[in-house]
Subunit: 193 residues, 3 copies
């Protein structure tokens, strides 16, 4: 019986080898889809945006720097602020209190991009430089801000967040007129290095 | 002969084990290069940009919101529109007809960034919310728009396009003066989840 | 002893099979962390930014196209240039000489986004079209430009840099007043296709 057993073993090993080493095939890069996806890292923060309105220069963390032909840079334009480009440097906090100690800065821009309802396009970073987190997380995507929650892409990171990718769920946690809003950001990283 | 055979098997298994389990090595992340690359998902759309020119506020889907010192926000500037920042919320259609039912919105911005020829830098999203597609695809990159086709990066996605990456090939399908243009967008996703 | 040996082999093979074929599990995508990370490709370039100041239109490669309410588009604004949006089309060189033959163009924008110190948010591409390199590399991220070096994300690429990702380390190599600066860009790609 030994030869047969040897043949079976050989076939088995051949199969194993094939299964093991054939990975660099010319197939498309379809990543395994775990049902459901579990983030390899999960973080939640708040950030606070105070738009300059001509009177609040001391507290303002954001300013209108572009506007449509029918607008100016001190008051958000009509038609759902379409065309207003806002630059911001907002404090990031761990809870929803504007006066909590900031753990980092949210820096970048948003552009209101629709005339009939409020939507914006965002490009920004979370920048950390504390004992807890050091490095940056970079975000980009559409923000249909009238929706309770909306997802944007995490397109990269540096430092503690080296090469990361993921999805961030934004939620408007509070707003006061057209001067202050607070976003809750649920960061789910699916590629961790 | 049995001992020798056992030794051969043992070496074989050792080799196999080594080959199987040694994956977390400190080697660079060189992904296999299938010759050629095949997208795991392939989609084609058109989108339509109508720039506000002071007279077409009803139909306009885009507006100039930034301009160089020598320009204004109603007429695209001289020197290849260098410095004009345009925000858009354009209908996406399945064919090249502006009046076809939109299947989504292309939202974001472009900036003309060169004085001697027409080139732009794009940051935008395709936003879908229909029975066919739900979610967003995010794009960024340089658009040397005088070239017949040009490639930009797909940097992420959400919903049905969760975590996707790829390359989009843009082609100017039509343009009328400095008010209307239509882009054909060939979306090739190479990372699908 | 043969039966025992067969049992051991079977268990061994079972273990191996399990280890080999169980990869598409619903676990998070934690990529192996090689200590330290080695780029799969490493490139260094310089680029040169000459901001239009009302007098240098012939040489200028960049222009202010957005400004805060308290600024204009010819002179960078006070408060650390907060709110100035600058568009650029800068020559890329292999060494630190502005007059060396350009090997490509750096095209995109930066926005100064902080009132108390100089920081900016960058979105741009390196565009190559020579015998040496053809294609583009796309960058995004926060640039705390007072730091000697700072990292931003490489979020994608096309052509020779198809689907690449990585980190770029920026260093201000020289600056002259508020008109000229030169950045050294150390490109480390960690995902190569």
């Amino acid at each position: 019986m030994e030869p047969n057993k040897g043949l079976v073993s050989a076939l088995f090993l051949f199969f194993l080898l094939h299964a093991t080493m054939a990975s660099p095939t010319p197939k498309p890069h379809i990543k395994p889809r775990p049902p459901p996806h579990h983030p390899c890292r999960h973080l939640t923060f708040y950030f606070h945006d105070i738009i300059f309105n001509g009177k609040n220069s001391k507290n303002a963390t954001a300013a209108i720097v572009g506007s449509p032909p029918w607008g100016n840079r001190t008051i958000l334009a009509g038609q759902s602020h379409f065309g207003n480009l806002v630059v911001f440097d907002d404090p990031i906090t761990l809870d929803n209190n504007l006066h909590s100690a900031p753990v980092g800065r949210a820096q970048g821009f948003y552009i209101y991009d629709r005339k009939d309802i409020f939507t914006a396009w965002l490009g920004f970073s979370f920048v950390f430089n504390s004992t807890q987190h050091r490095g940056s997380i970079n975000f980009a995507g559409a923000d249909p801000l009238m929706n309770k929650t909306r997802d944007i892409s995490i397109i990269g990171g540096t430092g503690d967040f080296f090469m990361t990718r993921g999805v961030a769920t934004l939620e408007t946690d509070a707003f006061e007129g057209e001067v202050y809003f607070r976003l809750r950001v649920d960061i789910k990283l699916y590629e961790c290095w």
